[in-house]
Amino acid sequence: MFMLPALFLRLALFLTIPADIESIIQDSVLFSTPTNSYKQLQEEFFLQHIRHTVTTSPLLITILNLINNDQFLTNLIYSVVDISIAYLLVSTIGRFTKVDRERILKLYLFNPLVLLSLVSKTTTIFNNLFIVAALNALTVSCYCLSAIFIATSAYFTYYSWYLMVPILTYIYKETQCTLIVIKTLLVFAATTVAIMLLTTQSKEEFFTYYRELSSFTTITPNLGLWWYFFTEIFEFFHNFFIVMFNLYTFVYVIPLTLKFQGRQDYRKGLIFSIWVILALEAIFKPYPVIADHILVHSYVPLWSLCFHDLKFPLLLSYLANMVLLLMLPTFYFMWINLSSGNANFFYAIGLVFSFIQVAVLMDFIWAMIQNSHRACYGFSRKRLTQI
Amino acid sequence: MKILYILLGILCCVAASSNTDDDQKSTHTNNWAVLVSSSRFWFNYRHMANVLSFYRTVKRLGIPDSQIILMMSDDVACNPRNAFPGSVFNNKDRALDLYGDNIEVDYRGYEVTVENFIRLLTDRWGPDHPRSKRLLTDENSNIFIYLTGHGGEDFLKFQDAEEISSYDIADAFQQMAEKKRYNEIFFMIDTCQANTMYSKFYSPNILAVGSSRLDESSYSHHSDTELGVAVIDRFTYYNLEFLEQIEKDSNKTMADLFETYTFEDIHSHAGIRTDLYNRNLSKVLLTDFFGNVQKVEVGNLEDDLLYLAMTNEDGSPKQFSAQLSQHRQTNVSSDRKPRPLNKDSSKENYINLESTEPPLVRKLLIALLLVSTLGFTYTLK
């Protein structure tokens, strides 16, 4: 019921926002990076016949070709995508908890950060849509659909294929049938190949994009943790960093899946591990933006049952996040525009931001572990300190 | 263990006692100098002046330009800030233009890197590296190595971009020793905490001096007020002051030079390391390093005969039949190398041999080899 006003709000926002403010948001390090910025997308749309090396997903160029880069249609697509995310989000969350759907919807649809992120028109929003859709499909047992969505999402960001590990475990737990698991896996592979064949003209085009994503070839400062290692530390180590960071994002996937699949309520457990993997990706990927964190934090209401086990009240973590998100552009401005600060200031704040995200995540994991412990051994008044 | 120590002691005694007076004479047949100013930029004028002063001195005492490797950024003489364009002076009286005539800088600008310095010492270069930029020394060469720049404990900065550590130099010297690339080395360094730079040496026959101890700075001597920069460092200044009195036939020794080092002059404690060096300093002539000796070496007759037999008059290898060539090639590489007329060209000769071999023959040979191997394995079955 909020959908329509929210849609109008988004369209109106696109129409009324002054061009210079829009451009500031689109250029901001918080919202866009070379791999997902709207400007990059536009540039590649116009240069697609000249050069075949791309740094945005080829799929989007295909979509842009379809609608002929029409401004209104683009805006409409972005708005509809954003609203679909909200809808899918709420239906997934609603399936697991009894929280007020309207509140969650309002929190997403009228969240200033979501709106700003939308105005930046980064391509991350499509990735978010596919992930949310995949999770929703999973919870309603449309396994093949889920695999298709994950394949599409992986096509955008590469890292999403990690999610196939918990998803396949989920399917196996649910059906106890290996055949369905293999079928889903095949669908995943087939979709990947199909999109690849449909949207790219050459093999190089496809691989440049993934090389860009996994080896951080366009070194620019951003929200994440990678760039400092590549700009400030000896070039000699670059290959080492690339290997370490890529390993680091993957190294948690299997342990997390194993840890939470053993819960009695394995559905929730595995969705939780998917959520944690998403959060870790958002923190440790080479080109993170706010939209990645928005996706992660939108799922927080799912875990309302562990809220009272959290050590740091959520309010405090969100206040801290707010402060840091305001400090980040300030330090960036000081470094780039005033040239009185330097990279260290900006990276330090980015580091603190990531630290807070990790702290919140750890808090949730511990709360979840306590929760499953209680589910097994019954409730005790004593607060758990270790298991 | 104890026995081992005793044995070691005896060995040392023997080694010490064998230092007879006869050994005190240097046996070198040629002299080389490696002069490096590792810094850059206008305000490091004095380092450029330091190194150019030594360049002038060794040249004056007879080392030819072809045996001097000069490494410096060379951005001072033609700097727009230089009030005397095209000149570099090491004294405010500006009596002597160090840049005046015939400066041959071998490595300049961004070529002054740690990598190039180490490659230079160990002579590891690509095949097309010019000969004039190589340190073509042998086991009869005395090398004078002079470094100046900004440094610290166990490191010397190269052009604000990288550092060389004392371990790097020590290891490079060891490689030189193993490859018989020197007879003796005289290592001199003028930088802050310079003495730490030679503390890690472990190769024989190296005499080292530095301008200052650990935690001590090295200071500049004086500034030229019109240039607005310091023109020379203290340690270098007083070394030069002494060396200026030396002529080619001088009998002054290292001990005489080292006696002049005082804290009052240099404002830091100059260090001398002699434990790797087994000649008596009062017997070591300064000209053993700063001057040039042209001794004629009588080569091994047998080797040379072999060499002559295998080459034409113009030095190119003789064309034998393919098999013979192949045979000799393996012989050459496994056996003692024939001594070429020019020592370092052995490698080039080797390359020549290879390139003159007809490619078709080689292919045939390989094919033959393959067939025979196959046949051999077949028969084994």
Partner: protein, 588 residues
Amino acid sequence: MSLLETLHRKLEKHGIIAQCIRYLPVISFLFAFIGAGWIFFLPVQGQYRDTYISENALMPSQAYNFYRESEWNFVRGYRSEIEKLANASHEERTEKLAEWLSQTGFKTTVQEGSDDHLSNLYGILHAPRGDDTEAMLLVAPWFTSSGEFNVGGVSLGIALARFLQRLSVWAKNIIVVFPEDQSSLRYWVKGYHESFDHTGGSIEGAIVVEFPSSLDYLKYVEVDYVGVNGQLPNLDLINSVVMIARHEGFDTTLHGMPINVSRGYIYRLKTLWRSIFHLATAGLRRARQNSAEAFSGWNIQAITIRGMEFCNEGSDITSFGRIVEATFRSINNLLEKWHQSFFFYLMLSPVHFVSIATYLPAAVLMAVSFFLASLSIIFNNDDISFKNIDIALPKVSFLFASVLVSESVIGISLTYASDCELILLLTFITGAGLTIILPTAKLPQIVLTANERSILQALSLFVVAVSLLMVTVVHFSLALLSGIAMIPLTFVRLQKEHAKHSPVVNNASLIASSPFTTMLILGLLSDGWTSKGLIWSPLGVFQGLVSSFDALNCWTWAFVVICWFTTWSCTLLAANAKVLPTEREKTE
């Protein structure tokens, strides 16, 4: 992580967290108190450092300076001509000077004037052996920052131009500019970076000379370096100039401090407070603008040297000129950039400074104090439970946003009217009047629940905390001073736990923390805001705030509107709105 874990457990075990929450208001005030007190701690021996040249390339005063007595006659000659021009029009003066400047070998150009600005004369000496990409700037305005005729400065400028082109050591171009005053200079700098055809590359350093006297001798030199928006020139530039001046036999002072006093703790503290005050109010003084302000925003290291106490004996004007020559040679020696880490400092005397790590805690503590006050409202309050924060949030955010938008609209429209004194006067009087009346009035039109009221107040304080934190790193002095001025906002207590809290305290706190009160105090504390004298000074502060937003791209006004006015108004709304009784109260 495990360390945090252990700490958290320890704290919980002893119930310290609960204790802390109960005493949050006290802790908050304590933080603010320590924050403000921190400044008094900085001039203590051991907290500050002696200045030093951190960039090796500069080598100040290492070269012999040639600008000596033989050049004095040229200064005298130009000066006697310029004295005749004292009453001439700007065009006549410019024309005459342009003639002389082109004779010296500088490529001379006149920047066309516009409706608001007079034309500016400038000349560029392209260094023959340089690479023509960087430049040094010498500025001799016709009128000094305090409005005097800069006769010595202009003569010295033209004589120096004539002298400098004869030296053969320049690696950077030299530009000389003769603007009418500070605002023309800003117009010139803007033009140089945006529209000029004839430029000399990026400006690495700028020196403004002020010598408003026809006499030949001077006692000491004052150095001015403050830019708008908290921007300061690289500390190495100040150090070089101070060092060179001392080498030439001059004593130097900063911020108008007297010269012949003992330079102990009190002296350092005074200089420190003045530097904080001048930084925080940079750009606002209409009557006494600082020339270095003209360069803010273009990343130019600029400094003003001002001759003080002119007399008939002592050091002469050529020694003063040698400061310029030697500083130029130092800047000329610079090879890459100015040393990165020396843009954040506070001066305690010409040769002492505190760096950012030492002084930053003061403003951070101030911001934390607001943050704690905001938390205190949320935690020590029966009206708020965590569950219904987001129920109240839409209405509160809407209220806050509408206050923000309406005040921003007023703020922006005022900047367009900054030349019309009548409008400003009326606004100022209305504003000041409302400041006194509103806190005591009731606003029955605005109806809030107790929950919403508390959240509105907490939000305001939180916004103050965040804004202060953001401004702190960019503009420390503004954050500190406005933080101190806003502290009374944290004394406003509206919750029923504080029923005993006197409403008089609330009202007084609101009046005290109003921006208008601060403007009034600022105006009355010191003259120089406007040329009309002390009585008009408060209006001058207001006018400076409003006009500097456009004229100097100074953000102080934006900060005052967004952070200060808005939060103050919202606290006011929270204090005076009609409050609906809670469910519990109804049942009781």
